[in-house]
Amino acid sequence: MRDTVMDMTPAEVATRIPLLEARGLSFDAGGTRLIHDLSLSIPEGRRLLIMGANGAGKSLILRLLHGLLTPSAGQVLWQGQAPDEKARRAQAMVFQRPVMLRRSVLANLNFALSVHGVRGAERAAEAAHALELAGLSELARHPARVLSGGEQQRLALARALVCKPRLLFLDEPTSSLDPASTQRIEDLINAAHMRGVTIVMVTHDMGQARRMGDEVIFLHAGQVAECGPIDQVLGKPRSEAARAWTQGRLYTGTTF
């Protein structure tokens, strides 16, 4: 068996080398270790969920993977290499609370496109298409900050997707939305996934997890308590932490 990248065809490289990989990630803040020696790999096209109780380190991991935070130890690899600017621009993130620029809805999209070097007629077309997908065409000229919570999150998602990322990070994107708004966000995410976008999402919602996830990583106190296919981890959890969580109990133990 050939075991180096050099010996493989491009197609084989694509299937064998994960899009994103974390090796031995740790993160300390204020003298406390918040993330312990975390390793994972995310193949292209996968939908990975990160779950766990409050304070387990879900958002931290998302930020470490996305490169918003620098790990205290370990490394993140993009297609087997240290991420460069190109890698950064192949990723996008939607935050729990959408960050709206103080501009119109359309200008928010135009800004993201401009940053990616898309200009002129192409930019106008892309932005219009994204607005339509997000159901925001009517609101194009409105200031983004006067939109409702659901509309803002849809715009944030549209802005993240308009630059055609290969990997999309989502940090509890629907945690403060009503069911109808949640549905529309999930539809947009699924549509992106159908187009081949890899999804890494933090969620608290078990129903959403079942609808949206292929695999889940269950965190407890900054460590992986359990990982595997969604149905297995949520249906027949092996770890005490995941079991307690699915049953709605608070688990404070230090073992899994």
């Binding site: 935050f95 620029l101 200008a107 940053v115 200031p143 990070f169």
Partner: protein
């Protein structure tokens, strides 16, 4: 001895009998002050935004210096610029002393720290909100600065107005480097100082009222521009 009614009516007469001389003085005041505010914004906005948005060694020191420079005494700035531009100074050959350009330079030195320090505050607050989003989008430093300045544009108009207020009311520096030369470097404030020294206190105060009206007008124009810009941006 003085009645404010007299002063107001003298101011009113001044405005009614608006003559070429007054136009010249008011025009030069606006030209010098607006030029200085423009230059200060060109320097102070990016400078303040950089200090507000980026972490770098010496940032704290720079903040302290900018804040301290906001209190620069105009006379000291005037003397400094005089020594620079004097025929015996390093920039003497430029022959800028006793010209409007010298006044613009002095006022720019006075106003830039105000614009930079206030911009820093405005941008710092905004950046706290935007930082993660910008990092996620992979913005380059200059893109960050431009985006922050653009998104803070309405607050920054107020910053520019603060700078305008300092510059238009300033007399010590422009008197020294401009020389208060009739028809050349005589502006509102130096005229007021001159009329005061001639003992024409009512006239001086009336000119002060005209200056105030001017400041109110400039503020009103900027605020109206701001309102229409908001409307245009979201029409």
């Amino acid at each position: 001895m003085f009645s404010f009614g007299d002063i107001m009516s003298e101011a009113f007469v001044l405005i009614l009998n608006w003559d070429r001389n007054l136009s010249e003085i008011v025009g030069l005041s606006l030209y010098v002050t607006l030029s200085a505010v423009l230059l200060s914004c060109l320097i102070g906005l990016p400078l303040g935004a950089m200090v507000g948005a980026f972490r770098f060694p010496g940032r704290g020191v720079m903040t302290v210096i900018l804040n301290a420079l906001m209190g620069l005494p105009p006379v000291v700035v005037g003397l400094f610029v005089y020594l620079m531009l004097s025929a015996s100074g390093p920039f003497g050959p430029l022959q800028l002393l006793y010209t409007p350009a010298a006044m613009i330079i002095a006022q720019t030195i006075l106003v830039t720290p105000i614009v930079a320090a206030l911009t820093k505050q405005v941008v710092e607050d905004l950046h706290g909100e935007y930082a993660e989003q910008f990092a996620s989008m992979g913005l380059r430093p200059q893109e960050r600065i431009a985006a922050l300045l653009w998104d803070a544009r309405y607050s920054l108009m107020t910053v520019a107005l603060a700078g305008f207020g300092r510059a238009v009311a300033e007399v010590g520096a422009v008197l020294i480097v401009g020389g208060n030369i009739n028809h050349v470097t005589r502006v509102m404030t130096t005229t007021i100082a001159l009329e005061t020294s001639k003992g024409n206190l009512e006239l001086a105060l009336a000119l002060g009222v005209v200056l105030l009206v001017l400041a109110v007008l400039v503020n009103a124009v900027v605020m109206a521009l701001r309102a229409s810009a908001v409307r245009a941006a979201y029409a």
